[in-house]
Symmetry: C4
Subunit: 377 residues, 4 copies
């Protein structure tokens, strides 16, 4: 009944007609089974938030500046004290074997080639140790906190032992909601991820008659802020809290020991009906001040998108769907190429906006256009 | 010339591809005669307000909140002092025999199964006594005030005798306006409803030459605020006034003895050109204060819609068209299933918005997006 | 080369499927030659303002009010001191023989049947005396001021002699601009109108090399405010100035002897790129005060449109294109029927908005929706 | 592999169905090879800014004014102290041999016929001396500053010698970005332009490993404000700085010796994601004051577009794509005709907006409509 989701054959070279990073999204349907593409391209529910993430970029325009000296500039940045040559990181994407037989190993290699960080998902097709064994060493581990603290602690120890440099704790998906489009395409998620293979499965919380399966059942095992504080005490790795959409939650994250936050709506895969990530970044930055490390995740397809996210408040950006698309199209080569294109597109945008550095980008003027024009920032 | 409107065969089980409450609306055209679907799906005139009701939800987004303790929460609420397990009620829908041979009996049974209230329409296919005889007892009676007060009083006495717990007085439809779409589909309303079968028909008010048939004729028999005050004196049942779109009318309702109001534009079936119900709820709640019981009616298709209506000011919501669609698709089972799906969707939305209770939902942050962005709330 | 524009056969009875006034617009293309329909339906240039006139109504919504006593109400109004049973007037439409063989005589008869005023265009197919000879007597004469004051004076004398009760001086079309759509359809205007048949044609102003044919040529013969003042001195008939879109021009009109103004952009037939008439009425009413007689012209298709125009500031409305459409579809009967439908639609709208009188309508609450929501009124 | 881009046969007379200037854009695809049309019609990247330039005009409406004396008026203007009969100039368009065999000579002749200025591009198909030899003498030279100052100085000397009356220094395109649409159509730019044929090609700046090819390579040769100051000292010709989108850059231009600025986003050919030119003009005029010479470039297709640009702050406008289209359709005749039509359209618009002069246009009221309505000017 279920259609096989084995990846179609990815290319071993960069397709001739990839001229911009977004072309990997354009080509992806050719390289992915329809059910898989429906799943990756969709979000949750009616996929409204996933679409809003993309549309939001078109509502913001960048005011060009001219004749400024930018020739000593560059995209170098410091993310929570760590110097990086550019602000593009590979966000956590689970089950990459669906996209390419080399799975997370390919993306991690691409990250190394493109001088950036690979964030390995708890839900990876390969174990975190397997991923750590591939070329390069700039890696963070994305952690879903487990119902059993011993399991969580063990995952952290394993990540530490394997050399991961930070933990990204995703907090916005305590429950999983389907995309109706993916369901209609008969998408079925793969079996439990390699990282969790050897742990006992905790029995779901029991509910009594009249109780809510979601609120009183699933959510009983969901982590809370005190779990973040506990986790911060278990490891010396910096903690990033991913899935922040409200300034108050950002404040709470730092109060509980976070090193930084990721503004994200999980690519529209959790609450369908959430606003776009881009629409939230400015207010969150304003509330938390210039010094708080803030990453952005949600709909990046081009260098001008990155420019806009940084101008509105982000320090750097994560690439999720586009990573999956490039991986499906051309494996490690595709992912590395997509990052390279994004970086060049960002550099071109900086040049035309008169920005030598990302600090200049932060100060650049963004204006609203089209239907965004009525917005009150 | 008129096409038969006998219901097509409803299913006796839940269709496999119903994954969310809104799927009943999607499937309905398969289970309803085209003329009937045109009537139910349409509103009045060009159906603009009916469409605006739906579109309005897409203009509001819910800001997710994370890591909050919601596991002891639930959807329990108190509607005018009566505890209810969730805020979803079955609004009055007339002539349900058009949708299913079991008519209102099926919907009333579904309400009982789904632990909610069924509001029987004056215009029901079955008499209020017949409906009262079906399983369950949580029922309100929707009352159209009749030109002859003796008839109105008799209807109230009958509702009291049959055990209805409240009266919902619909005040926004003193005249009936056609939907041009329904007319074009040759829809014809069924003959006079069972509840009114045994009353004499009052002769319409006579008008003189030059007078308006509508203003000076039909509207002479339309009720006024003094009739609400009179009615409040005739019964000990709580009165809900349905069809309020302006804060001043809300105030007037409470001043004349109402126990609560229903913000509604009659699903766009009266004044085509009225704003969406959703666009009015915040101002009405603000004007009437937190303690006034306010229900919402107008376009609910999902749990996130319910969340938005409550966050903007409603205490609970009525389900109208969706009830009719689920009834047509799968009878009592379909209606009960639709309510169950809505409740689960609401719970999932609460979990992802960090709301343990409906009071938390009321305090949740709603932001405008898309074309709603220029709105002045 | 030119296609004949003789009217197709109009019906001698009301078509069965006309359920609302707007249906005459829907049916018109069946009863008019394509080139004629392109001309009537179009505006000038790219027809943008003509389209904006219609779209503007959809951006405004009427807040329903309930349980108000409206049964002694009606649509009676006083236009500049003259009592009228309703606020719907037939605006000036030239060359009506293109629409129906009975031409302006049919429309004038319809006006009489529908208890309203017919405004005969200077550009009528029939002479003003011929039109005056038809049944009914409630008529105004629309005057284009002529390059030769003697001709203008003679037209006024003739209108006075024929019993016209007011003059409507159209001032917004000193030059004629084509609709590209009408040109593409090979529309050609008929030969000079009957009213001007017997006057000498004044030679166009000569221009020297380097001068503008438009500004220095055609516009030299265009009237100015001093001509309005002069005209006011030539007749005891009240003068209405038609084509006002700016409050300052409204003030100027009254200062130069006008009895009232018509807010109009000539149905989008002059300056393509002008805003909708509806978007201008509120500011003009606010600037001129409650006592100034102001008519509205521009896109009325329904009773709710009339309600909106009056609520925003108009005293009454003119019907232009819809008159032409109804005339083409069913002659005098069609025009009278269209007015009757509009009046009933207005009455229904008043009933549902709780307005007994047009004064109540003026005070009714209009809210913005859709793309109008960002508007600053 | 590359398709030939030789122009299709241009007409030697004005096509019968050109009724407005914009018709040249409508007809252009018939007269241009698809790849060339894709290039000319596109912008850069996804062509978003190119589209926004056009859409922006539709968001602004012109309020008509009536009965004003305009018959002694005209379109005469003074651009930086030079009297001109109208405000329409031919902006720099490179490689005109792609559009017509007569190339820039045709456009320059058209400018002379239409009493306006031709601005010859550095990237012309013909040398500036060849263009100077054609009929007429009202010419400016568009200068791309060259990496080698000696080359720049030589170009300036040649322009002075050939009688060019001003220099237009384009500063917004230090790097060239492709239009994906043009790439997809296999467009390839012609070989290096005639004007630069005899200069040595400067080797590109070397970059070290880890440096950005764009920021540290190409941009090292890009001019800065000090180069403008230097250039102002090299010539007595007035300098116009083209490509200003921010008021601060406008101030800087005048501070460094500019005689005027051109508000432009290079027709959307540089930073895709820049706002429309029209959306920037009002703020720039407000910041720089009434006396600063400001030209507008970006999407002009009609006389009402010109009116809007001037009303919002421009002194005159440049015609780019429309020049290319008219040239492709009907050579010099087409270009002259397009200018004539634009001028007449502007005159008609002035007549209907009650503006006798361009100073009146500057003071005319522009209102927002449609999606522009939420804009904060």
């Amino acid at each position: 009944m279920t259609k096989p989701l084995a990846p179609l054959s990815a290319l071993s070279s960069i397709p001739r007609d990839v001229r911009c990073a977004a072309d990997y999204a354009r080509l992806a349907p050719v390289f992915m089974a329809p059910a898989l593409f429906a799943h990756i391209d969709g979000g949750s529910g009616d996929d409204l938030t996933a679409a809003e993430n993309l549309a939001s970029f078109g509502e913001h325009a960048i005011v060009p500046r001219v004749l400024r000296p930018v020739y000593e500039g560059g995209t170098a940045c410091s993310i929570a004290g760590i110097a990086r040559p550019h602000p593009i990181m590979l966000g956590p994407v689970g089950w990459q074997a669906m996209m390419h037989p080399d799975a997370e190993r390919a993306s991690a290699m691409a990250a190394a080639a493109a001088e950036t960080c690979f964030i390995a998902s708890t839900m990876s097709s390969l174990t975190l140790e397997d991923i750590a064994g591939s070329k390069g060493s700039d890696r963070w581990f994305q952690l879903y906190m487990q119902p059993d603290r011993a399991v969580t602690r063990d995952l952290v120890r394993r990540a530490e032992a394997a050399g991961y440099a930070a933990l990204v704790v995703t907090v916005d998906a305590p429950i999983q909601l389907p995309s109706y489009r993916a369901l209609a395409a008969d998408y079925e998620a793969p079996a439990g991820p390699a990282n969790l293979r050897d742990y006992p499965v905790k029995a779901p919380a029991e509910i009594t008659r009249g109780q809510s399966k979601i609120l009183n059942g699933f959510m009983r095992d969901a982590p809370g802020w005190h779990d973040i504080a506990w986790l911060a005490g278990q490891t010396s790795l910096p903690l990033w809290i991913k899935g922040i959409m409200h300034a108050d939650d950002g404040r709470e994250a730092f109060a509980n020991g976070a090193a930084g936050i990721v503004v994200s709506n999980h690519g529209g895969r959790t609450l369908d009906g959430a606003p776009s990530s881009l629409s939230r970044i400015a207010a969150i930055r304003a509330a938390l001040g210039d010094a708080s490390p803030i990453l952005f995740d949600g709909g990046i397809r081009s260098g001008t998108d990155i420019f806009k996210a940084i101008a509105l408040g982000a320090d750097a950006v994560l690439i999720g769907r586009l990573q999956a698309y490039a991986l499906a199209v051309a494996g490690a080569l595709g992912v590395a190429h997509a990052i390279k294109l994004l970086r060049e597109e960002l550099e071109a945008c900086m040049a035309l906006a008169g920005c030598a550095t990302l600090s200049d980008v932060r100060a650049a003027e963004i204006v609203l256009q089209g239907q965004g024009r009525g917005a009150k920032s």
